[in-house]
């Protein structure tokens, strides 16, 4: 199992909305970067390939950061330094190098989209877990992303819940991540065992001589 992009995962997944916000921003960067890299394939000579990826990703992230500052200002303030840190997310340069620079734009777009949405899913899952344990709520502060009418979307599971502080702090993020990896290993193992047990089609019976 590959573990990429852990920095934002551990720091920003305090709530579902924070995880969702950063996940969608990362997806946008992934799609933009993948498509652009795919389109400039003819000019990617070996010596300057990596610097061009870095330039491209940094420009895309800066543009997206400015757009978030302008149109989602509250969320921008909450996510803070982790928006520009998307540049350092090795998943983005990883996909550009190993996939987008070798296929056409449509495949690169789909790859960026699916990778990004998968990343968002993990951020939301971990964010949900930490929010439920740490604050007893889900979807709190939804108005940061969806506007003032989303203020009532918060689901309070236990009123007057004081909150498990550990879930809110970074060690809680590590523990939560470990739990997610353990669950995935469990599911993978089950799937592998089921495939091994499945009967191999019997060879045709030998015709009697």
């Amino acid at each position: 199992m590959q573990l990429l992009g852990l920095c934002p995962l551990l720091a920003v997944t305090g709530t579902v909305i924070n995880g969702l916000g950063l996940g969608l921003a990362t997806t946008l960067v992934l799609v933009t970067s993948n498509v652009t890299v795919s389109l400039i394939r003819p000019w990617l000579s070996a010596e300057i390939r990596i610097p061009i990826f870095v330039l491209l990703i940094a420009s895309a992230v800066t543009a997206i950061e400015l757009a978030m500052n302008a149109f989602f200002h509250e969320l921008y303030l909450v996510l803070g330094i982790f928006i520009p840190l998307i540049v350092t997310n090795c998943a983005i340069i990883g996909r550009a190098e190993s996939f987008a620079s070798k296929t056409d734009a449509l495949r690169a777009l789909v790859d960026g989209l699916t990778m990004g949405l998968g990343f968002t899913l993990v951020l939301v899952a971990l964010g949900g877990m930490r929010e439920v344990l740490g604050h007893g709520t889900l979807l709190s502060e939804a108005q940061l992303m969806f506007g003032p009418m989303a203020r009532d979307w918060v689901i309070t599971l236990w009123p007057h819940y004081r909150g498990l502080l550990l879930a809110v702090l970074p060690p809680g993020a590590f523990l939560g991540l470990g739990l997610l990896i353990a669950i995935k290993n469990l599911l993978d193992g089950r799937r592998a065992r089921r495939a091994a047990v499945r009967p191999v089609p019997a060879p045709a019976a030998d015709a009697p001589a």
């Binding site: 000579s45 010596e47 061009i52 330039l55 940094a58 420009s59 303030l77 502080l165 809110v168």
Partner: protein, 213 residues
């Protein structure tokens, strides 16, 4: 020109071209979002100031009546000023909101807004940035407790100066169980602000502009 040199020059030119394109994109987006970003930041500032001063106390645009203060008592470093906002009603000064920095927070400096009216009474205090421990020191934040609202209505001699401290230091203000350093830093900063206001009140209010733009 040997082919190796030609390749290098070509590669360099290509890189330069991409650099220009990337910079162009960023410049384009920047130009188109600059106004909105400035408006957003002004709105956040006005919302914070609005939480500290009651509406009835002023009728001017606070964002336009900013003065920069360089006093070390308010926590300003050399060369860097801290903004204060003058509030007026019918052209007469009615209150001032100071930006104060408490350098002795547990996790680092704590930045506060302290609103004081013309009589020297605190209209409100809010913490606008801090690095205090979640679950302990961060109770100075309104999102976690109402502690900071308790300063409203107090002034330099209410409680008397000697009692402007946390209870553990012989004062009147609650500290938090398990976190004394954080509330001590905040109480100290507010006390220093009140002393500063008392000493410089007339100079500060004299800076009210002749007419509000």
């Amino acid at each position: 020109m040997p082919p190796a040199w030609r390749n290098t020059l070509r590669a360099g030119a290509l890189l330069g071209l991409f650099a220009v394109a990337g910079t162009g994109l960023v410049a384009f987006v920047h130009g188109h979002t600059q106004a909105r970003i400035a408006a957003n930041e002004r709105a956040v500032l006005l919302r914070e100031l609005h939480a500290i001063l009651p509406d009835s106390l002023y009728d001017n645009n606070l964002a336009n009546s900013r003065i920069m203060l360089h006093s070390p008592e308010l926590g300003a470093h050399a060369g860097e000023g801290l903004p204060a906002y003058l509030a007026t009603k019918d052209g007469r000064p009615s209150a001032i909101v100071f930006t104060v920095v408490a350098p002795d927070g547990y996790g680092g400096p704590i930045k506060l807004l302290v609103g004081i009216d013309a009589r020297g009474v605190i209209t409100g205090v809010r913490v606008i940035s801090h690095q205090e421990t979640p679950g302990l020191g961060d109770w100075i934040d309104t999102r976690h407790s109402d502690w900071i609202y308790g300063f409203t209505g107090h002034s330099l001699h209410d409680p008397p100066l000697s009692r402007w401290a946390v209870k553990r230091d012989g004062g009147d203000f609650d500290q938090f169980t398990g976190a004394t350093i954080t509330p001590r830093a905040v109480v100290g900063a507010i006390r220093r602000t009140l002393l500063y206001f008392d000493a410089h009140r007339d100079q500060l209010f004299a800076q009210v502009p002749a007419q509000t733009p």
